[in-house]
Symmetry: C2
Subunit: 116 residues, 2 copies
Protein backbone atom coordinates (compact mmCIF):
# COMPACT_ATOMS: atom_id res chain seq x y z
CA UNK A 1 0.00 0.00 0.00
CA UNK A 2 1.40 3.39 -0.98
CA UNK A 3 2.29 5.59 1.97
CA UNK A 4 2.49 9.34 2.59
CA UNK A 5 5.59 10.54 4.41
CA UNK A 6 5.51 13.94 6.10
CA UNK A 7 8.62 15.33 7.78
CA UNK A 8 8.97 18.76 9.39
CA UNK A 9 12.55 19.92 9.91
CA UNK A 10 14.11 22.34 12.36
CA UNK A 11 17.14 23.80 10.52
CA UNK A 12 19.36 26.59 11.86
CA UNK A 13 19.49 29.50 9.40
CA UNK A 14 23.23 29.22 8.79
CA UNK A 15 22.82 25.51 7.96
CA UNK A 16 20.14 25.86 5.29
CA UNK A 17 22.44 25.57 2.31
CA UNK A 18 24.14 22.46 3.68
CA UNK A 19 20.76 20.97 4.54
CA UNK A 20 19.50 21.48 0.98
CA UNK A 21 22.63 19.89 -0.52
CA UNK A 22 22.36 16.85 1.71
CA UNK A 23 18.60 16.51 1.25
CA UNK A 24 19.13 16.41 -2.51
CA UNK A 25 21.87 13.79 -2.20
CA UNK A 26 19.67 11.65 0.05
CA UNK A 27 16.72 11.98 -2.33
CA UNK A 28 18.87 10.81 -5.24
CA UNK A 29 19.78 7.64 -3.33
CA UNK A 30 16.11 7.03 -2.49
CA UNK A 31 15.11 7.74 -6.10
CA UNK A 32 17.52 5.06 -7.26
CA UNK A 33 15.90 2.54 -4.88
CA UNK A 34 12.69 2.78 -6.90
CA UNK A 35 10.68 3.02 -3.68
CA UNK A 36 10.45 6.81 -3.48
CA UNK A 37 7.65 7.75 -5.86
CA UNK A 38 7.69 11.50 -5.30
CA UNK A 39 8.85 14.09 -2.79
CA UNK A 40 8.03 17.77 -2.40
CA UNK A 41 10.27 19.88 -0.23
CA UNK A 42 8.83 23.16 1.04
CA UNK A 43 10.42 26.17 2.73
CA UNK A 44 8.70 28.25 5.39
CA UNK A 45 7.82 31.75 4.17
CA UNK A 46 7.60 32.90 7.82
CA UNK A 47 4.00 34.08 7.33
CA UNK A 48 3.08 32.18 10.51
CA UNK A 49 4.86 29.88 12.96
CA UNK A 50 8.59 29.71 12.19
CA UNK A 51 9.53 26.56 14.12
CA UNK A 52 9.96 24.39 11.05
CA UNK A 53 12.12 25.72 8.23
CA UNK A 54 11.47 22.88 5.77
CA UNK A 55 8.68 20.35 5.27
CA UNK A 56 8.87 17.32 3.03
CA UNK A 57 5.66 15.70 1.78
CA UNK A 58 6.42 12.50 -0.10
CA UNK A 59 4.87 9.34 -1.45
CA UNK A 60 6.57 5.97 -0.98
CA UNK A 61 5.80 2.53 -2.40
CA UNK A 62 4.94 1.40 1.15
CA UNK A 63 5.63 2.23 4.80
CA UNK A 64 7.94 -0.80 4.91
CA UNK A 65 9.88 0.42 1.85
CA UNK A 66 10.30 3.79 3.54
CA UNK A 67 11.61 2.13 6.71
CA UNK A 68 14.00 -0.17 4.85
CA UNK A 69 15.38 2.61 2.66
CA UNK A 70 16.27 4.62 5.79
CA UNK A 71 17.82 1.58 7.43
CA UNK A 72 19.98 0.97 4.34
CA UNK A 73 20.86 4.66 3.97
CA UNK A 74 20.42 6.87 7.04
CA UNK A 75 19.93 10.42 5.69
CA UNK A 76 23.11 12.43 6.26
CA UNK A 77 21.19 15.69 6.80
CA UNK A 78 20.63 14.57 10.39
CA UNK A 79 24.37 14.80 10.98
CA UNK A 80 24.19 18.60 10.64
CA UNK A 81 24.32 20.30 14.01
CA UNK A 82 20.93 21.64 15.03
CA UNK A 83 18.91 19.76 12.39
CA UNK A 84 15.94 17.90 13.86
CA UNK A 85 13.46 15.89 11.76
CA UNK A 86 10.10 14.37 12.72
CA UNK A 87 9.47 11.82 9.95
CA UNK A 88 6.46 9.53 10.00
CA UNK A 89 3.90 7.92 7.72
CA UNK A 90 0.50 9.63 7.72
CA UNK A 91 -2.89 8.51 6.47
CA UNK A 92 -5.62 10.79 5.11
CA UNK A 93 -8.52 11.60 7.42
CA UNK A 94 -10.48 14.40 5.73
CA UNK A 95 -10.37 15.89 2.25
CA UNK A 96 -11.90 19.34 2.02
CA UNK A 97 -12.62 21.17 -1.23
CA UNK A 98 -14.44 24.45 -1.78
CA UNK A 99 -17.81 22.70 -1.75
CA UNK A 100 -17.25 19.24 -0.23
CA UNK A 101 -15.80 17.65 2.91
CA UNK A 102 -15.11 13.93 2.71
CA UNK A 103 -14.04 11.54 5.43
CA UNK A 104 -11.39 9.31 3.90
CA UNK A 105 -11.99 5.63 4.58
CA UNK A 106 -9.93 4.07 1.83
CA UNK A 107 -6.50 5.51 1.23
CA UNK A 108 -6.57 8.07 -1.55
CA UNK A 109 -3.58 9.15 -3.55
CA UNK A 110 -4.09 12.83 -3.96
CA UNK A 111 -0.34 13.34 -4.13
CA UNK A 112 -0.07 11.14 -7.20
CA UNK A 113 -2.17 13.13 -9.59
CA UNK A 114 0.30 15.77 -10.70
CA UNK A 115 3.23 13.96 -12.26
CA UNK A 116 4.37 16.34 -15.03
Amino acid sequence: VEATLINVFVVPEEKEEEFLERWQATSKVFQSSGWLLEAHLHRNTDAGNTTFRFVNVARWASAEAWRLAHENHPPSEYEIEGVIGHPSIFEPVYDVYSDTMTEVRARTHWLAANHP
Copy 2:
Protein backbone atom coordinates in the same frame (compact mmCIF):
# COMPACT_ATOMS: atom_id res chain seq x y z
CA VAL B 1 -0.89 34.18 -5.44
CA GLU B 2 -2.16 30.82 -4.16
CA ALA B 3 -0.49 29.68 -0.96
CA THR B 4 0.25 26.31 0.65
CA LEU B 5 -0.54 26.05 4.35
CA ILE B 6 1.08 23.27 6.36
CA ASN B 7 0.20 22.78 10.03
CA VAL B 8 1.47 20.02 12.32
CA PHE B 9 -0.59 19.49 15.47
CA VAL B 10 0.29 18.06 18.86
CA VAL B 11 -2.98 16.51 20.15
CA PRO B 12 -3.30 14.48 23.38
CA GLU B 13 -4.76 11.04 22.65
CA GLU B 14 -7.88 11.60 24.75
CA LYS B 15 -8.60 14.84 22.88
CA GLU B 16 -8.49 13.43 19.34
CA GLU B 17 -12.25 13.14 18.88
CA GLU B 18 -12.86 16.68 20.08
CA PHE B 19 -10.04 17.94 17.90
CA LEU B 20 -11.55 16.32 14.80
CA GLU B 21 -15.00 17.78 15.52
CA ARG B 22 -13.60 21.27 15.95
CA TRP B 23 -11.30 21.00 12.97
CA GLN B 24 -14.29 20.10 10.80
CA ALA B 25 -16.34 23.02 12.16
CA THR B 26 -13.46 25.43 11.53
CA SER B 27 -12.98 24.08 8.01
CA LYS B 28 -16.67 24.64 7.23
CA VAL B 29 -16.37 28.29 8.24
CA PHE B 30 -13.24 28.68 6.10
CA GLN B 31 -14.95 26.87 3.20
CA SER B 32 -17.78 29.38 3.33
CA SER B 33 -15.27 32.24 3.12
CA GLY B 34 -14.37 31.07 -0.39
CA TRP B 35 -10.67 31.52 0.40
CA LEU B 36 -9.93 27.94 1.45
CA LEU B 37 -9.47 26.05 -1.81
CA GLU B 38 -8.68 22.63 -0.36
CA ALA B 39 -7.44 21.01 2.83
CA HIS B 40 -6.15 17.52 3.56
CA LEU B 41 -6.00 16.40 7.16
CA HIS B 42 -3.71 13.46 7.92
CA ARG B 43 -3.33 11.26 10.99
CA ASN B 44 0.00 9.82 12.15
CA THR B 45 0.19 6.02 11.70
CA ASP B 46 3.01 5.94 14.30
CA ALA B 47 5.35 4.26 11.81
CA GLY B 48 8.00 6.83 12.75
CA ASN B 49 8.16 9.93 14.96
CA THR B 50 4.95 10.32 16.99
CA THR B 51 5.25 13.98 18.04
CA PHE B 52 2.57 15.24 15.68
CA ARG B 53 -0.77 13.43 15.70
CA PHE B 54 -2.33 15.37 12.80
CA VAL B 55 -1.00 17.31 9.83
CA ASN B 56 -3.04 19.59 7.63
CA VAL B 57 -1.82 20.40 4.11
CA ALA B 58 -4.05 22.99 2.49
CA ARG B 59 -4.25 25.45 -0.37
CA TRP B 60 -5.53 28.98 0.16
CA ALA B 61 -6.37 31.77 -2.28
CA SER B 62 -3.43 33.73 -0.84
CA ALA B 63 -1.31 34.07 2.28
CA GLU B 64 -3.22 37.25 3.10
CA ALA B 65 -6.59 35.47 2.77
CA TRP B 66 -5.31 32.78 5.14
CA ARG B 67 -4.23 35.42 7.67
CA LEU B 68 -7.50 37.38 7.45
CA ALA B 69 -9.67 34.25 7.76
CA HIS B 70 -7.90 33.33 11.00
CA GLU B 71 -8.21 36.89 12.30
CA ASN B 72 -11.97 36.85 11.58
CA HIS B 73 -12.43 33.34 12.98
CA PRO B 74 -9.71 32.04 15.34
CA PRO B 75 -9.88 28.20 15.10
CA SER B 76 -11.51 26.83 18.26
CA GLU B 77 -9.39 23.66 18.21
CA TYR B 78 -6.62 25.67 19.87
CA GLU B 79 -8.84 26.07 22.93
CA ILE B 80 -8.51 22.33 23.62
CA GLU B 81 -6.06 21.68 26.45
CA GLY B 82 -2.79 20.28 25.16
CA VAL B 83 -3.40 21.09 21.48
CA ILE B 84 -0.49 22.93 19.85
CA GLY B 85 -0.42 23.95 16.19
CA HIS B 86 2.46 25.28 14.06
CA PRO B 87 0.69 26.84 11.07
CA SER B 88 2.59 28.67 8.37
CA ILE B 89 2.63 29.26 4.64
CA PHE B 90 5.26 27.25 2.75
CA GLU B 91 6.66 27.57 -0.74
CA PRO B 92 7.92 24.69 -2.89
CA VAL B 93 11.69 24.23 -3.16
CA TYR B 94 12.23 20.85 -4.85
CA ASP B 95 9.90 18.46 -6.65
CA VAL B 96 11.25 14.93 -6.89
CA TYR B 97 9.72 12.17 -9.03
CA SER B 98 11.02 8.69 -9.73
CA ASP B 99 13.24 9.98 -12.54
CA THR B 100 13.47 13.76 -12.13
CA MET B 101 14.42 16.33 -9.49
CA THR B 102 13.36 19.89 -10.19
CA GLU B 103 14.21 23.06 -8.31
CA VAL B 104 11.00 25.04 -8.10
CA ARG B 105 11.43 28.66 -9.09
CA ALA B 106 7.87 29.58 -9.91
CA ARG B 107 5.17 28.42 -7.52
CA THR B 108 3.58 25.19 -8.71
CA HIS B 109 0.18 23.91 -7.70
CA TRP B 110 0.73 20.22 -7.28
CA LEU B 111 -1.96 20.10 -4.59
CA ALA B 112 -4.59 21.29 -7.03
CA ALA B 113 -4.50 18.45 -9.49
CA ASN B 114 -6.69 15.91 -7.75
CA HIS B 115 -10.08 17.56 -7.34
CA PRO B 116 -12.54 14.64 -7.56
